[in-house]
């Protein structure tokens, strides 16, 4: 029984409302820099929009989804009322205040620094304080997830921690540690300059600290999607999870390998030694292990469902799958996007191959396909699965739901495939306009127009998604069955300590952060000649 429905719904609704606005900004950006539109007379409007789009989509939206889902998992899997509900609301209001504090100066043109901050550019301090408040609000959630699990473990000594909660807390701890990098950058580099207490900034150190956050944050975004793969989809399609242990190992490996790899974002940065770039490149490759474990385990789980439904043959069972079930559909579409996005990611993570696509539109195409595609489509699936349990009303529009998922998938492919291609042609990212009349730019113009069309499909899909959720609040009342997570083929009776707690994996995560980031950070901290004056944005010189 879920007793904190209002809390969970509040998180999801704020997340999806902001998401709806940010999707519109994204499509406007795609349109305004395509050949379909004339050049912007004030390029800053573009950078304001990019900053707002990135801040909402990167910081606020996935954090709220992870938090809302986390509060739900805590009650539904542990079977105990959420401890610290007032704290949870306090964290929620912090995120609201932080989002407003961040977005208002961005809209006024005082903080066109993009969500990755890009020091030595410095904007109005309220943007940075707003982001800090969002992060602090989410740390309340991290603490509550830890406390709830701790209390449950004390009450159930030796009992296996439910998989959903194990993964949920892994995600929370990953976020807590990965956010430290950006927090250090903001507190010790950017905010003192923005407030006028410091007059120089070490841009190289700031970038290294941000890379600490920048890659692992992706795995924090990914956690709710993976939790849905393992604990919602097999149950929803009438199957069983193939291996509970494999799931736990995957989440543990994400915790370990998500962190010490962020320098692959800095392959072109001169302030980091090539040796560390190679080390981070190798560790990035290790992320393929939990990803492929997941693909294997989930495919096996799906096969179990198909065979239970009478599927036969080596591949014939695929036909027996419940393709009309939104969870099945979302999973399949997510895997296709994960496959293409992951394949493209192999280029980005390779120290050598990265130089062919570094800072081109390829990179933006890549992270939209992975995050906007593979992950966000699972956020939709989570919402569809949870909504009847939160509102006590059924989702009537099953066809509309399937249409929405298909539209999101098609839109994302049409958006990102040409986007990758434009990057291969050398089209740089972060530009407000391009001269498509120049010789050789025609092909880039065609691909950008295709992306505009893909973006329009995504806007349509997002509208349908929100409409389905809104309509649900007026739908027929039902008494939903008790919410359950997937059951494994072999349900754990007793687990080895390493798979029933996160201590070992958190320790490894911190140890690898020290080995892989320690020297570059200390070396840059000691390099005072690298401090440069800030470049103030949006103000008088």
């Amino acid at each position: 029984m879920i007793s904190n429905k209002r809390l969970v719904l509040a998180h999801f609704w704020l997340a999806f409302a902001l998401f709806g606005v940010a999707v519109l900004l994204g499509e406007w950006q795609m349109f305004i820099r395509s050949p379909l539109s004339g050049w912007l007379r004030n390029a800053d409007m573009y950078y304001r929009s990019v900053t707002a789009h990135g801040t909402v989509m990167g910081y606020v939206f996935p954090t709220l989804v992870a938090m809302g889902f986390g509060y739900f998992i805590s009650e539904a899997s542990l079977g105990q009322p959420l401890i610290g509900r007032r704290w949870a609301w306090a964290g929620y209001y912090m995120i609201i205040v932080g989002s407003i504090a961040a977005v208002v100066p961005v809209a006024l043109g005082l903080d066109s620094v993009l969500y990755t901050f890009y020091p030595p550019m410095i904007g109005n301090v309220f943007y940075y304080l707003g982001v800090v408040l969002v992060v602090v609000g989410s740390w309340v959630w991290v603490a509550l997830m830890g406390v709830n699990l701790y209390v449950w473990k004390r009450a159930h000594p030796g009992a296996p921690v439910p998989l959903a909660m194990f993964a949920n807390v892994a995600g929370a701890y990953l976020w807590a540690w990965t956010a430290v990098g950006a927090a250090l950058e903001l507190l010790f580099q950017i905010i003192p300059v923005a407030l006028g207490y410091a007059t120089t900034i070490n841009a190289g150190l700031s970038r290294v600290l941000f890379s600490w956050t920048l890659h692992a944050i992706v795995y924090f975004w990914l956690m709710p999607a993976y939790i849905a793969f393992y604990t919602i989809v097999p149950r929803a399609i009438g199957g069983r999870l193939y291996s509970d242990s494999m799931a736990r190992i995957s989440f543990a490996l994400f915790l370990v390998f998500a962190m010490p790899i962020g320098i692959h974002h800095l392959f072109a940065d001169p302030e980091v030694g090539s040796g560390f770039k190679v080390v981070h490149s190798i560790f990035t490759a290790m992320v393929a292990v939990p990803t492929l474990l997941t693909v294997f385990t989930i495919c096996a789980s799906v096969e179990i469902a198909a065979r239970l439904r009478g599927g036969k043959g080596a591949f014939g069972w695929v036909k027996a799958l419940p393709w009309k079930n939104p969870q099945m559909l979302a999973l399949a579409l997510s895997f296709v996007m994960l496959g293409f996005g992951g394949a493209g990611g192999l280029i980005n993570m390779s120290y050598q191959l990265d130089s062919t696509i570094h800072n081109t539109q390829w990179v933006t195409g890549h992270f939209h396909l992975i995050f906007g595609g593979a992950i966000v489509i699972m956020y939709f699936a989570i919402a569809y699965d949870l909504w009847p349990h939160l509102t006590g009303r059924i989702i009537q529009d099953a066809r509309l739901v399937r249409t929405q998922l298909w539209l999101w998938f098609i839109g994302m492919i049409v958006l990102t495939f040409p986007w990758h291609y434009a990057g291969l042609l050398g089209m740089p990212r972060r530009m407000a306009f391009y001269d498509y009349t120049a010789p050789g730019m025609f092909a880039e113009g065609v691909s950008v127009v295709m992306s505009v069309i893909g973006g329009a499909l995504l806007v349509l899909s997002a509208l349908i998604f929100i409409a389905v959720l809104v309509r649900n609040h007026w739908a027929t009342r039902v008494e939903p069955e008790t919410f359950t997570f997937s059951r494994a083929v072999h349900e754990p009776v007793s687990l080895p300590w390493a798979l029933n707690g996160l201590g070992l994996w958190v320790a490894l995560m911190i140890a690898l952060t020290i080995t892989n980031y320690g020297y570059p950070i200390v070396q840059l901290m000691r390099m005072h000649e690298a401090n440069v004056p800030p470049v103030f944005v949006g103000g008088k010189p």
Partner: protein, 263 residues
């Protein structure tokens, strides 16, 4: 957990495996790949480790002395705090007295009626940089250099503060970027020309960069052409020379007309 940690297969497996991976990747990144490079400057194991770690060192021994530029270059380093130092007995009032010698060309209150630049309300950092360059010869001028050559640094700071304090007179409607020529609002990306407005105001302002509206047409055109021909060289990192050289005569006229208000 039962038994000692080092006998536990989960502990040994995870920590040992991670450690081996770390050692392997350190070997690849710090020893193997650097040793495969044919670089005469990186000989020896310790050298390759230090360079792969990014330890700063002066490993490139100079083979010849730096080339001395044939003309004087600007030595002014501007930061947001360059002009922050408290005036020692100086300030706007002292600057106003010193400015008496400037009134003949730059007007009684910094607004010129001839073809010399308007200074009223100009950014102090921009005035200060140009005065220093006139003084050092980085921006040679038969008129300005003799007038400033004997002034102290404090004099230049006070003059800059005085002119920055005067009210700026703007052309009505100059805020409108929609009406601005393309070169001002968008530049020409394929010729590496950023929009004028991205440094000189409207879109954004940069430290040490003056606003241009309104300035006299002849002055603006002369300066742009001087940058294009390379006869004016005191722009930081040759930014304006590279821009002006790539501008067409039509673009020069359009930008000059826009900023002088003679549209």
């Amino acid at each position: 957990m039962s038994g000692p940690l080092l006998r536990n297969r989960w502990f040994v497996g995870s920590v040992g495996g991670t450690f081996l991976l770390l050692v392997f990747s350190l070997f690849v990144g710090f020893v193997w790949l650097p040793s495969a490079q044919e670089d005469a400057l990186f000989k020896g194991l310790w050298n390759s480790i230090c360079s792969a770690a990014g330890a700063p060192r002066s490993w490139l021994s100079p083979t010849s002395a730096p080339v001395t530029p044939p003309t004087k270059v600007s030595e002014v380093v501007l930061t947001p705090t360059t002009l922050d130092e408290p005036a020692s007995g100086g300030g706007v009032g002292r600057g106003a007295t010193l400015a008496l010698r400037c009134t003949m060309c730059h007007g009684l209150r910094g607004v010129s009626s001839s073809q010399t630049p308007n200074l009223a309300g100009q950014y102090a950092s921009s005035i200060y940089k140009e005065l220093r360059d006139f003084q050092s010869g980085a921006r040679p001028s038969a008129v300005m250099t003799p007038l400033v050559v004997k002034l102290s640094d404090q004099d230049l700071r006070d003059l800059s503060a005085y002119y920055a304090s005067l009210p700026r007179r703007q052309t009505p409607g100059a805020q409108d970027l929609q009406a601005a020529p393309d070169i001002v609002a968008t530049g020409a990306p394929m010729r590496n020309i950023p929009p004028c407005g991205s440094c000189h105001g409207r879109l954004d302002s940069k430290l040490g960069v003056p606003w241009l509206d309104p300035q006299p047409r002849d002055y603006l055109k002369t300066q742009l052409e001087a940058f294009a021909h390379g006869t004016r060289r005191n722009d930081t990192s040759a930014q304006m020379r590279n821009i002006a050289r790539n501008m067409t005569p039509e673009e020069i006229d359009a930008s000059v007309d826009y900023y002088s208000g003679t549209r």
